[in-house]
Symmetry: C2
DNA sequence: CTGAAAGCGCTAACAT
DNA sequence: ATGTTAGCGCTTTCAG
């Protein structure tokens, strides 16, 4: 059986509370005693029992990370896990642990409610992908430390943190305009669904309006195949655009293939640029200019905020973090 | 304040132990009482306090997942997170939670030892990437439920579970031989480091020996660029091979680019096949024939074994799971 | 079938 | 500076 504070107390000839205080570095214990008790603890290979400690302290140093963890996300959404590792690494540093929770959007409200009541953890970080108005309502009612990763698609008084997609859009647009490009097409997903691209578009428009220019936007392009098809049409036009800007790497890859199939030169005949920087975007030929966002860093920030919030529950934030950066490569 | 069993006991006019038993479905409580208490619990929105429960039960339903979670793994190693989600989903089903722990290989032995002693969790799953002989020794000494994901590179009496890379190799080789290909080159990493490929090679050799053929293996190819270089040389040969089989998608992409740069036709002039099935392998042109391994499923199996092991600690396994499957596409 | 009571190992008032 | 003691909320013998 592992040693307890009772064993230490006996060995040191003091009371258990002295041991407890010494181990927790209480100011009311003399350095000499602390020193001695720690040596004894070390000698007996003592490790505090995490379960008993959590129980007594009414907190356990655990943070939940709730997201949809369906089969395949590891492949489809590498961003998500970059965030998770970022969160985990910060928490670890502060003595917290991260528990992953698969929470499908459908029954998120009930599940989250249960999780909060069970006090399995001290706080919860939620991926915006599972956020609904109903869930927002549940979170708003409970005084439970929480944070959303990703800007909610509706206004609500919850704390959230996100990448500034607007800045990313602006950065991309400014870069292209600076390079002298003028006729640019932006390929994005469904106008209703693809909130992220809309925000990028907002940023793009800011840059374009400064130059009194406009950008052509094509919505409803959600897959590699759709991207290939539309690109084929685009490059056949009389007044061919100079650049196709894609809202993700798969669309960019579609463009690339279509353009090459027509034997056009990139970037001379037509250039490509993309948001996100997946590993293969630096491997394809030509390598792709991309806007990269540091998801690990965002996870870090989120965790940092979570820890603050546990200590100071009425803290509130709605903010963007981590500036996107431009990675110039051969495709522009 | 959330309701406790005391509140329920009072409301139901019974003792707390009756409540506890009713909630835990003890055989010694009448169905009628169980029913009534559950309704009251429901009505009061009762949720058992996970911390108190863990304490009293001396177990907390938490499993640790230890791996190197350095910045960038989310992108570089999608397999890892597919495993994690697989583990998580099974555990969730059985009422367990998964805590992620960043454990760098260097100080893995001490860290793991601490984790085990603190009883923060009921068991630990370790990624083979952080396993050293020293760590194996630590694990061997402690009677703590554990499981390695990935076959250790040295013989040891620990429990592990892994994909059968040998089967994958055999599957790939048989497919190619069946297609009538004979002159095949296998591109893999460093002969010392790349254990996984060596195991694939073992499987390949089994298939080749049956046909009394041999495969040409080129080791030391670890990056996209190296793959391009070597492929350039390979395709210049007089007696050009019919297929290049790559141990991963990045190498395969390198081949692809080199071959296309020479205007050779795939698969007619030369074919490509790869192990692993990353999303872009079905997007490149031509799409790539690949051997896919279901990492989610492996995670599931691992979790399943972990749960069994907690109940039956002297259980032991060293096994392979999840058969690799072949995905035939245009590149062969 | 139900209840009383003794902890689980540690923390935190409070007293000394 | 150190010790006493009362819990934390739940599980689990042991009696009845």
């Amino acid at each position: 059986m592992a040693a307890t504070i009772y064993d230490l107390a006996e060995a040191a000839g003091v009371s258990i509370s002295t041991v407890s205080k010494a181990l927790n570095d209480s100011y009311s214990i003399s350095d000499k005693t602390k020193q001695r008790i720690r040596e004894i603890a070390e000698g007996m290979g003592y490790q505090p029992n995490a379960r008993a400690r959590s129980f007594a302290r009414k907190k356990n140093g655990i943070i939940l990370f709730a997201a949809d963890l369906s089969r395949g996300v590891g492949f489809e959404n590498p961003h998500l896990f970059e965030i998770v590792t970022g969160v985990d690494r910060y928490l670890e540093d502060k003595g917290y642990s991260l528990i992953l929770k698969h929470v499908p959007k459908d029954n998120a409200p009930e599940l989250i409610k249960e999780l909060m009541h069970s006090e399995e953890a001290d706080g919860i970080i939620l991926h915006a992908g599972i956020l609904t108005k109903q869930l927002a309502f549940v979170l708003g009612k409970e005084a439970y430390p929480h944070l959303i990763i990703g800007k909610p698609s509706f206004t609500c008084p919850l704390s959230w943190i996100d990448v500034s997609h607007e800045s990313a859009g602006q950065l991309a647009a400014n870069y292209l305009l600076d390079k002298g490009y003028r006729r640019i097409v932006f390929l994005m997903g469904d106008a209703e669904e693809d909130q992220m691209s809309l925000r990028r578009l907002d940023g793009i428009n800011v840059a374009f309006e400064e130059e009194e220019l406009t950008i052509e936007t094509i919505t409803g392009i959600t897959s590699y195949d759709e991207s290939r098809e539309i690109t084929e049409k685009i490059i056949e036009r009389e007044n061919r655009p100079e650049v196709i800007l894609c809202t993700n790497n798969y669309l960019a890859l579609g463009c690339l293939q279509s353009i090459r199939a027509k034997n056009l030169q990139i970037p001379d005949d037509i250039a490509i640029m993309t948001f996100d920087n997946y590993p293969f975007s630096m491997i394809v030929q030509p390598t792709m200019t991309a806007i990269e966002v540091d998801m690990f860093e965002m996870g870090n920030q989120a965790a940092r905020f979570m820890v603050q919030k546990i200590k100071k529950p009425n803290l509130q934030t709605q903010s963007f973090c981590t500036t996107p950066i431009l990675i110039e490569r051969e495709s522009t």
